[in-house]
Symmetry: C2
Subunit: 418 residues, 2 copies
């Protein structure tokens, strides 16, 4: 029998960390449902799978006919439906949870469950689809990818990454402008997100434009970070330029695999040691070893939520992955990830396909070592060629009273009732 049924309701949830593209995928699913002539409702889970446990959801059906809301949703950062970090247990360990969830699916007459998220969310979608098969449930479980870290497998790159890369490259370029105004020797260390994969930090290489060869160094977690080489790199560069800008991933590690960030030890009473990031630790190292002006700058959570500076390519692809996810439901597929692959060639082309969501759930995609120039603490052209298409284009954001007019999220911050 065909699992796709226009009379059934569908359910959408978001999970994991925020990106500026995740709401675009949500909008894509909603619009595809509308265009399919869906007669059922579209339920939006508040706070993902844990919201389902607590019966917290809203009816998104109204969005199907409200183009303005869809447009605003598409360009609003973070998560309109909220998120959760709930890790679904294995069915063999706790089948009660599954029984509870699938009873809700039945009671709510759910035909498809779309989960937008990263590795953990795909793990949830994989477990649910496996259990559905086991019990012969018709509910389709479809994963929709997102994560700024770009470490998801089974996809060329993840929605959210392109915009974060554009924000990082732009911000690093602006910091280069900011730090170039004085002539004194100065080192600026920019710390970018990325515990194990350096994709976001690598994007800083795009900030080098025109005749300004700054930032000079990029250190990624895929390679060993050597403090002595780091100091030597800077000393040498200072003989060429007064303004040295270094970009490092938060997760860079030494030969023993220990984080450069001061995470070990209890530290002083204020806990500063375990709280000092890689950038701050290296700032202190430069001051001690070279005795020159050094400042650490952490590109903080803005890199994943700066909705005012999105990559149009990223938002468009996120939206299309939502559309494609719904088409997978139309084909009656389950246990799949709405994915895309890059078509080899000089121009940037992608094609969409259904990947195995269980494969996406495991593993962590890192930068190929052959794309990294370890000797010069830099990335190679292959890395630039990979990222460049993903930051192209700007998304027109509507401003009201001088601020971006994002979609209202007051439903995510209810008065606490304890």
């Amino acid at each position: 029998m065909d699992k796709f049924n226009l009379n059934k309701n569908i359910m959408i949830g978001q999970s994991g960390g925020p990106t500026v593209a995740i709401n675009a995928s949500l909008a894509g699913i909603i619009n595809a449902a509308a265009l399919s002539g869906l007669k059922g409702k579209i339920y939006g889970l508040i706070n993902g799978i844990s919201g389902l446990m607590e019966d917290r959801f809203i009816d998104l059906s109204g969005f199907m006919t409200a183009r303005n809301n869809l447009n605003k949703l598409t360009t609003s950062p973070a998560m309109f439906l909220g998120s959760c970090r709930y890790k679904l247990p294995k069915a063999e360990d706790n089948e009660e949870v599954y029984k509870t969830l699938f009873k809700k699916f039945d009671d709510m007459n759910i035909g498809a469950f779309f989960y937008i998220g990263g590795n953990d969310s795909m793990d949830t979608a994989a477990k649910l689809s496996a259990y559905a098969e086991k019990i012969g449930s018709d509910v389709c479980f479809i994963g929709v990818p997102k994560t700024v870290d770009n470490d998801l497998c089974e996809i060329d790159h993840t929605p959210g990454f392109g915009s974060a890369a554009k924000y990082i490259a732009t911000t690093v370029k602006e910091i280069v402008y900011d730090t170039s105004i004085y002539r004194q020797d100065k080192v600026t260390i920019i710390e970018v997100m990325g515990r194990n994969a350096g994709w976001l930090t690598a994007a800083a290489a795009l900030a080098r434009t025109g005749d300004v060869p700054i930032p000079q160094f990029i250190y990624l977690p895929e390679t060993v970070f050597d403090k002595d080489k780091f100091i030597k790199d800077i000393e040498e560069e200072l003989t060429k330029h007064n303004n040295v800008v270094v970009c490092v991933s938060e997760g860079i590690k030494d030969h023993e695999g220990n984080y450069i960030a001061a995470t070990g030890g209890k530290g002083d009473g204020f806990g500063h040691v375990q709280l000092a990031g890689a950038g701050k630790v290296l700032e202190n190292l430069v001051k001690e070893r070279l005795g020159i002006k050094c400042r650490a700058v952490e590109i903080n959570i803005s890199q994943r939520c700066a909705g005012h500076l999105c990559s149009k390519m990223d938002i468009d692809e996120a939206y299309d992955l939502g559309i494609f996810a719904y088409s997978l439901y139309r084909s009656g597929m389950t246990g799949v990830l709405s994915s895309m692959r890059r078509i080899p060639g000089d121009e940037y082309h992608t094609e969409y396909y259904a990947a195995d969501v269980s494969k996406a759930a495991n593993g962590e995609k890192k930068i190929p070592l052959e794309w990294i120039d370890i000797e010069n603490a830099d990335v190679k052209q292959e890395m630039i060629d990979y990222i460049k298409p993903l930051i192209q284009g700007e998304v027109p954001v509507n401003y009201v009273d001088g601020l971006p007019d994002y979609i209202d999220i007051s439903h995510l911050i209810p008065a606490v009732n304890k």
Copy 2:
């Protein structure tokens, strides 16, 4: 005799910290000179007054007829001419410096010297104009204001502040969206620039829009910061909302006037203590006292150099202050600051006037205490009404290859020749 002379050359310098509006003032002066029919050259000092000592300047005359360059200059952040922190000695202490400088003015046939900067730069302009009067020099010295801190006297608000305020309000709003996705109790502390004046931090209040009353608290350096009240404020708010966002100025101080930022003491070998900002110190305090999730976010130097998110009102005013500065030279004035005052009324209106640059050089403008709601750790409506007009409008930035196309600054980063 009339000091204004179309056949004489003019000199422009920039000094102090960067803003996104300072180049707009430079463009305004250049364009006004062009429109005045100036036959002399326009010299741009590289690295301000210290660049003059070392005869480092470029000829900006070409910009007079290059509309594209002027437009790009107007919307490029930081300082096209570079900056310096050189403090001009008093003439009575070191007249040699003055003799050197004025000989250069004569040799280069300078009719007017425009210095774009903050308090220290205005001090330089004031000293030079006083000395000129003393020796009967015809050179006009005109100050053009800028500083993100908005702490300059003799002007309603400073160019650069409006754009920084817009960036801060936008970023805080986006962080509010980012932090609203989970339901667990969480405190986020956002640290904003401002050692003694809280203007930039106050701008965070504009981030509250629609039905989202976050950030809930704003702590400014103009008032005493009480750690116990701070913890009590948060505890109370947590009974109303899970997501508590607090904005603090880097310079908040306790009853004894000591910075909350861990600046004292040697700290551990890594010097973490003296390097921990106010936000990080409060993050640790919340974790210790309340034992809940807390994260400090420092809105770093991007708040003063994010050219991709400018306030059109700010850039327009900065440009006009450059135009007006040149008109002051046309009137043969010296020792003046190109300034503006707000005209009382419901709508936002300003008028430009010549202020005494020596008065602008001294003093530091802080937020009036009556604009601060100390009890509720917030700002009052007067504060909102003051800032709101300054963040209005967006500046269209040209993007090339996915990044803002700012004016080339390679002349600021020459190969070092040691």
